[in-house]
């Protein structure tokens, strides 16, 4: 498995206390060559402490969000999140029970990309629920820039072995979008 160094992990904004040398590994990456409505990571190795999803997304129309499903569980009541966001000239917070990983913004249009990082902590632990957090942003196809800080929980004690991310409202991502799953040891 290809490795990144401690130095590189620092530059991802991770606390150095979390990391040891060669502890940051890319598990799988999708670079889209055409329109696609979701990406899925399966058979996720259970050898890491934390998972990180990095998203760079293009879309033919502004997406009002994206969903994250763990272990193919689409039950809305299994998920909760809280977010704090800016919407161009406005701001807000939201708390919901559903699978949204990005409540308002993930995409833009074919010339205005969206970008995000989402971390899922202690995903192999079978004694507690799974928590995650993230930050993402995008333009809305016009002049507004959106940003989003979000944290959530998947109310299952099952180890996470699969992840699926899909835009809301039957949107699709365009060619050039890139979504990568990393594993963090330590």
């Amino acid at each position: 498995m290809p490795l990144l160094t401690t130095q590189s992990a620092r530059s991802f904004g991770l606390g150095i206390s979390l990391l040891s040398s060669n502890s940051y590994e890319a598990i799988q990456s999708y670079t889209l060559t055409g329109s696609q409505s979701f990406v899925e990571f399966t058979n996720i190795p259970q050898t890491y402490k934390t998972l990180l999803i990095s998203t760079f997304t293009l879309s033919s129309s502004f997406s009002s969000g994206a969903f994250l499903y763990m272990n193919s569980d689409t039950t809305t009541s299994s998920y909760y999140y809280t977010s704090m966001y800016s919407l161009g000239s406005g701001t807000g917070t939201s708390t919901y029970s559903n699978t949204t990983i990005s409540p308002n913004f993930m995409g833009g249009n074919t010339s205005q990309p969206g970008y995000g990082n989402f971390m899922i902590h202690d995903y192999t632990n079978t004694n507690k629920f799974k928590t995650w957090r993230g930050f993402d942003g995008a333009m809305d196809g016009g002049t507004n820039i959106y940003s989003n800080n979000i944290a959530g929980v998947y109310t299952s004690t099952n180890a996470v072995t699969a992840l699926r991310i899909t835009p809301v409202s039957n949107r699709t991502w365009s060619a050039g979008s890139k979504i990568t799953l990393y594993g963090i040891k330590g």
Binding site: M1, P2, L3, L4, T5, Q7, S8, R10, S11, F12, G13, A26, I27, Q28, S29, T31, F56, L58, M84, Y85, S86, L87, G88, S89, T91, T110, S111, Q112, P113, G114, Y115, N117, F135, D136, G137, A138, M139, T143, N144, I145, Y146, S147, N149, G176, K178, T180
Partner: protein, 183 residues
């Protein structure tokens, strides 16, 4: 899965007190993502920190949004501010940037620029923290999470990180550009 490597491209370590801007020129076009990691102290009071793409100083070509928190007063009280879509002459990467106070303050920022060669507007994510020693009037610490955009489809060939004001940085301030290959 392609092989992933993560390489330092260039590092500036500030040796004097007259520098408040550095430029990374002739950036190799082989990377799928660029990152700048900066640890900076400032000589004068703090001001905004931003990244200029390809020497483009036209403020209308940039925009940003984000969320920040900081402390004010003594004893400190918590405040937050949510940013608006206001134009700077570069991608804003820190609001009220590096602290002054003779190097006793600390400021760190991590800047990520995915797909720097792509034919689309360039998006920049930054997170930053700064701190001033206790007893200092005004802002004592802060944290920012920002998204900035350069409204241009051109490939990135140069990056200038600079501070508004203008302000200058303390000796020992360090700014490194990294390149990510692969996924």
């Amino acid at each position: 899965m392609p092989t992933i490597t993560y390489e330092p491209i260039q590092t500036y370590t500030i040796s004097g007190s007259s520098t408040g801007s550095v430029t990374f020129n002739s950036i190799p076009t082989i990377y799928t993502e660029l990152k700048i990691v900066a640890s900076i102290g400032a000589v004068e009071s703090e001001n905004d920190l931003y990244v200029v793409m390809n020497g483009d100083n036209t403020s209308s070509n940039y925009g940003y949004g984000g969320i920040a928190g900081w402390q004010t007063g003594s004893p400190a009280t918590n405040s937050t501010v949510e940013f608006k879509s206001t134009s700077y002459a570069g991608c804003l990467v820190d609001y009220y940037g590096p602290p002054a106070l003779g190097g006793l303050g600390q400021h760190q920022v991590v800047i990520s620029i995915p797909d720097p060669q792509g034919s689309h507007w360039k998006i920049v994510r930054s997170n930053s923290v700064n701190y001033k020693p206790a007893g200092t009037p005004g802002v004592r610490g802060g944290v920012d999470e920002l998204i900035s955009v350069w409204k241009n489809n051109a490939a990135i060939t140069s990056l200038t990180i600079t501070q508004g004001g203008p302000r200058t940085w303390l000796a020992g301030s360090r700014i490194t550009l990294f390149g990510l290959k692969g996924a």
